[in-house]
Symmetry: C2
Subunit: 762 residues, 2 copies
């Protein structure tokens, strides 16, 4: 059969890609399909605007908060296909996130009060900016429930850092960046004492509870937040909400709104009206206006700050005295505060008002410069009169929440939660332009690069909350619904319903895909969480197992289709660390690794070194294996962890069973190798006959195939040496190994051939 | 402003849905769009076949393993939109899975050797069957790394049970069901001693290491596996792989294939050829043929079994003696073993062979009945000759893996891993019909209900492993690629590329969506993990906080937009349990719950009771809140956990600060209430003027709105009583609460109105 198999292989390859390649008869016409599926012409147009053919690319990538999943997700626009969930605050085993030692160290940075926090309530992602435009280098995201900010590197889409807010007990208003990513802004939500683990009764709410805003210093070169250069402002015990940084003319300032400036304390269980009644009684709340550039200078002055929980805080009194903190009334329980692309206006939506309120930065500065304040709040913060700051108000509808901007001048879009609509309007002239019904209860919305100085227009995504009746039912917990809307014309057009399978995204940012340049593979031996050379790095042939006392350290490697070492022998109670370096060069040849029932897992992309660690606290035999379907012989990419009783010694002369292969077996295997080489030569012949060098993907595949074939040399030397000694067992097995390398090379070669044929290489 | 806001509201509603509703001008023609997006006519046809307009439903639902994510995902076919990731082996906070007490109890069932396992390597989902057809009631899925099976209930898409395999250390071959779901089949992968925590050196591999197959008894009435009625067969130390149960004529039998029947032990670190060489040296491995119906009888006989780790095992010797276990050679390292819909044939693909091998059940039975065996394996198991069992072999291509079936008689599809193709062929006549190139390296494939007695045809999904060059790059770890293929015509047509954002799915099952009838909401007070009344259930008004020693138990409720209670006062060190019942009746009005930094989270769907539990081991003030964007006043759905020092007593006479509302405030609020009621009456007027009762969704929404309005009565009584006592503070706040209920009723009413207008209600 061996010979037959190889012959057939040759035959099939020589005859091209088989019967069906490139052929396809459409029995149904377009009209038939439209009729069968009840599609209108309008549906077909929407299909054409979103459908992305096999292998096609999306024009924009959207980075979405994963809500209570604690993750970030990435999807393409306009295809609305989700490309990746990235582990951020919640362990996620596919990525090894929280299951290998390197990512555990990232998650450990997010410990609070000495304890692991194994999830997050992510809300608002922000892409790093240069001159107010997305630069596609980093992504920041906050955790509302456990006040934290995470830093993701968009070179490899991995989470690199988590910082814990040192003074907040809750936050909603993160992450927002300043125009050159000098700082990442994070505002508290529910007021609480700033000191850690400090109790004050609710009767002292006005005196002892506080809000705050933190400016996290970002070190772009190292891709890390520097907590020691970060600072906060103490704020009144209002419920601070979202923020936005000024840009262009308003650069240097930031704006943070708030609700429940009533400072109401509920207590429905004691007969008091609930928070929802007391927190929405007043007609206006306060927008906070902060001079962050000046604040940053003040924060460096030891005499002007208080250190709380080891963190530098500018107290309200100082902020007032230094003239860096002001308030402006804003209508009823606002959510979004969004600076227009030109930096001239700040748009606020009061969710219990029907208007958007457009504030003029120029007017605000005028009022501040001339000391024109209408009052002070209970904490002495100067309050600028609404009429002195307003540019215009526009009546849009019920429950306005959040605003984003178009590439077209002066055009904005605001989500209307209660109306379940998107409103298109002109913020210069204060004019409503269009409205579109969506399904249902929209929270945030997002236009492409729509919160930058250079919005890209084209598409808008409505982040709808309740997807009842939109999709096939999947139980009482429904997916959310992101709806894609075409905004390239005067009238908005609904294009696509996209279910969100996991979490409730609160906000999304969309970036021109061309701005992203993710890495193809890592430099061999990289600790990808620290971006440095890994202590466990080894090259092929350098693998070793080191024992020091009861510490066993394995320096291993992974390559199609074996793990080196294939046996790890330890004693019960040993502390085992297994370092694994992926030696592959093909860009998608990821291997995974786990040891059965020891609750560890690593995803090891090409070049990466990752490690798992555990105490071998139970005797027995535990298989380990590659968890990623990496090659035809993937299931054979296995090994055994053997945990023997303490002091166990092998029986003298014990030997592994032999298969008793004969010289005939060996010769048959050699014949198979020769036949297979002929097949490979055919494939290589085709590839080199066309302009394959014009395709970097194919060049990479060829390198990879050459790597695999290169390995045959060593195996060949081994089978020939064994054959010379008439050790047919070893000779046949090493000859089989030569064949395995050939199979892998053929696999890669065929992939390259298919690629070239489909790209029409000549 | 209040009055203005309400007036505007009335105006907007009266004028219908605003400017843009229902209107949409397509500036670009279909031809323009096709040109701009480089779409061919064939692309447009594929778009029409997959695009699902807003609100449209999918014809089939696919349940996919989430691979190393440890989850199950659900997506629609043909839209290929992922609807849900369901938490199974890995904690997932959006669902509260592993973060509330009820789901923690499910995960705790999966503990191994006394330790938590916080992930799984899911492989093969199986839908429960009745008479060999999917019945849409339950889903089963296995964990390769930590041998376990999970049971999901498709009434609510929740994981209800996890069972740990008592004798395996690794498994790949689960889950597969018998035709009436009498048993769920799970086969081991890498051989190991069957005894728990038992060490034997590899030198004793042939003698002490074993494979096994477990038949888990399923109790359909209770939706649970019964471990005490389940049993296993001891098998040789081959690497058993996938299984399938016989059906119709072959019902009562099951088939399990295997690789590495060489029993090779690697050791590349010691100079031995790796597993991949030694495990693929032989030309054939063994299909195991097992009479499970007879085995189930034998397993009940104490004299015929061994109890290993508390589990009933039929040892090989007994199985041979009783004539329930046979082997048949099958070509080279097979993966899939798939019984044809008529039950007559078993299709095996050897991944290092180029053929599929079709075995005849009739011939196998003939051989067994006549005792025609060609040999015995090293353990004495009778081996049926390949030629005595084969119906036919068909040459398909390189790396055949897995086969599924069409609604068309005798038509099968097989994945070709190395070729990166799907082959369509006829298993009756042994004829290749068509081949289609996919991208790339396909593992399993799936046709609609394609592993049942009544396949539905129409679509095929290719589960491709390496998605290089298919999507926008998202870093070195790439998504997998599921490709949708139209199989309704003679020639297969590729329709859609679907990235998998999380995990590497190994297998998918697709079911006619009409067969699924998920529940709309739970009966109030349901523990959804046990499907019984929850001990923490309370109804509105029955909320309470109970203290017993240092144990504090909160019986709370959730409803738009407040949590009862809004304050929980405990002392440091108290053990706190918070039960929460969602009182909503709207089907998608889920609330979430967390206590900041205490690392707990619950998702509480309407009717559900869930609980979180923690020790209040740190003093201070910890906000709690609803984590699901549930209503306009969602952010105000908050409360405080106050952890005071031990023995702390409130200061005498301490009072919460008052807002000092006046009679005028109260009167203004009352006016707002009157105006808002007029708006509501308008909406109700519209709804009742049409045939809204024809729409169950609207009837449910109306019930819900009526619920909200019903609550105004109590709040009204309160504000009137307070006003009578000239307590304007309480009077105004309770009047505000009346308004809040009105706002929610209006929100629901508007949603119903929009729904009716869009459905064209008359």
């Amino acid at each position: 059969m061996k010979t037959l198999a190889v012959k057939t292989m040759a035959l099939l390859i020589a005859s091209g890609l088989g019967l069906g390649a490139g052929m396809s008869s459409a029995a149904e016409s377009l009209q038939d399909v439209m009729k069968r599926r009840n599609l209108t012409q309008q549906d077909l147009l929407a299909a054409a605007k979103t459908y992305t053919p096999s292998g096609g690319r999306d024009e924009f990538l959207a980075f979405s908060s994963g809500g209570q999943s604690g993750q970030v997700l990435v999807y393409g626009v306009p295809s609305m296909r989700i490309l990746k969930y990235i582990g951020v605050f919640t362990p996620e085993p596919w990525q090894g996130y929280g299951y290998d030692e390197e990512s555990k160290a990232v998650l450990a940075q997010g410990r609070i009060d000495g304890k692991d926090i194994t999830w997050g309530d992510t809300h608002h992602p922000a892409i790093s900016e240069t001159n107010g435009e997305y630069d596609g280098q980093f992504l920041f995201i906050n955790d509302k429930s456990n006040p934290r900010i995470a830093v993701l590197d968009l070179r490899d889409f991995e989470t690199k850092q988590i910082v814990v807010n040192p003074i907040m007990k809750s936050e909603h208003g993160g992450a927002f960046v300043t125009p050159n990513t000098e700082y990442i802004i994070e505002a508290s939500q529910y007021a609480a004492p700033l000191e850690n683990q400090k109790f004050y009764p609710l009767e002292q709410f006005n005196e002892k509870y506080r809000g705050a805003i933190t400016y996290w210093k970002f070190d772009r070169e190292h891709g890390k937040i520097k907590p020691e250069e970060s600072f906060s402002l103490e704020l009144p015990p209002y419920s601070q909400d979202l923020s936005d940084a000024g840009k262009l003319v308003s650069d240097g300032w930031s704006f943070t709104n708030s609700f429940c400036t009533e400072r109401y304390v509920g207590g429905i269980e004691k007969g008091r009206p609930p928070y929802e009644a007391g927190c929405s009684a007043k007609d206006t709340d306060y927008m906070h206006v902060i001079n962050w550039k000046r604040a940053a200078e003040i924060a460096r002055d030891d005499s002007k700050i208080q250190v709380i929980n080891g963190h530098r805080v500018i107290m309200m009194e100082t902020a007032i005295k230094e003239g860096i903190l002001f308030l402006i009334p804003e209508p009823k329980s606002p959510h979004g505060v969004d600076v227009t692309p030109n930096g001239k206006f700040i748009v606020v939506s009061g969710k219990l008002d029907t208007h958007v309120s457009v504030y003029s930065f120029e007017k605000i500065m005028d009022a501040i410069k001339s000391g024109r304040f209408e009052s002070k709040d209970p904490y002495g913060i100067p309050v600028i009169g609404m009429k002195d700051a307003l540019h215009t108000q526009v009546q849009l509808g019920l429950g306005p929440l959040h605003t984003q901007f178009d590439a077209k001048e002066c055009v904005a879009y605001t989500s209307l939660y209660v109306d379940s609509m998107v409103a298109k309007w002109n913020f210069c002239e204060g004019k409503l332009l269009d409205k579109l019904a969506i399904h249902y209860n929209i929270g945030h919305l997002m236009t492409m690069e729509g919160d930058t100085t250079k919005p890209k227009g084209k598409y808008l995504v409505a982040l709808n909350k309740l997807s009842i009746d939109r999709f096939n039912p999947v139980g009482p917990l429904h997916p959310q619904n992101h709806q894609l809307i075409d905004i390239s014309n005067d009238k908005m057009q609904l294009l696509y319903d996209m279910p969100l399978p996991l979490g409730e995204p609160h906000y999304v940012v969309g970036i021109d895909a061309k701005k992203l340049k993710p890495a193809i593979r890592y430099k061999v031996g990289t600790n990808t969480r620290t971006d440095s050379e890994h202590v466990g790095k080894v090259r092929a042939g350098e693998e070793k197992i080191v024992r020091e006392g009861n510490k066993v350290t394995v320096y291993g490697t992974l390559i199609r289709s074996h793990i080196t070492p294939e046996t790890i022998e330890v004693e019960k109670g040993d502390e085992v660390t297994i370092y694994l370096t992926n030696l592959e060069r093909a860009q998608d040849e990821t291997h995974g690794f786990t040891v059965s029932t020891y609750n560890v897992h690593a995803s090891v992309e090409p070049g990466k070194t990752a490690s798992v660690k555990f105490t071998a606290d139970k005797e027995g035999v535990y298989p380990y294996y590659c968890t990623e379907f990496c090659s035809a012989l993937h299931l054979e990419m296995q090994g055994y962890l053997l945990v023997s009783p303490k002091g166990w010694k092998p029986e003298e002369g014990a030997q592994l069973a032999a298969a008793n292969y004969t010289e005939t077996d060996y010769k048959n295997t050699l014949k198979k190798v020769v036949d297979t080489q002929a097949v490979i030569d055919q494939v290589v012949g085709y590839i080199t006959s066309v302009n394959y060098k014009a395709y970097p993907e194919v060049v990479a595949l060829m390198e990879d195939a050459t790597d695999q074939l290169g390995k045959t040399q060593e195996a060949k030397a081994k089978h020939e040496a064994a054959a010379a000694q008439q050790d047919w067992e070893q000779a046949n097995l090493w000859a089989e190994q030569v064949w395995q390398y050939q199979v892998k090379a053929a696999d890669i070669g065929l992939r390259a051939k298919t690629f070239l044929e489909q790209k029409g290489a000549k």
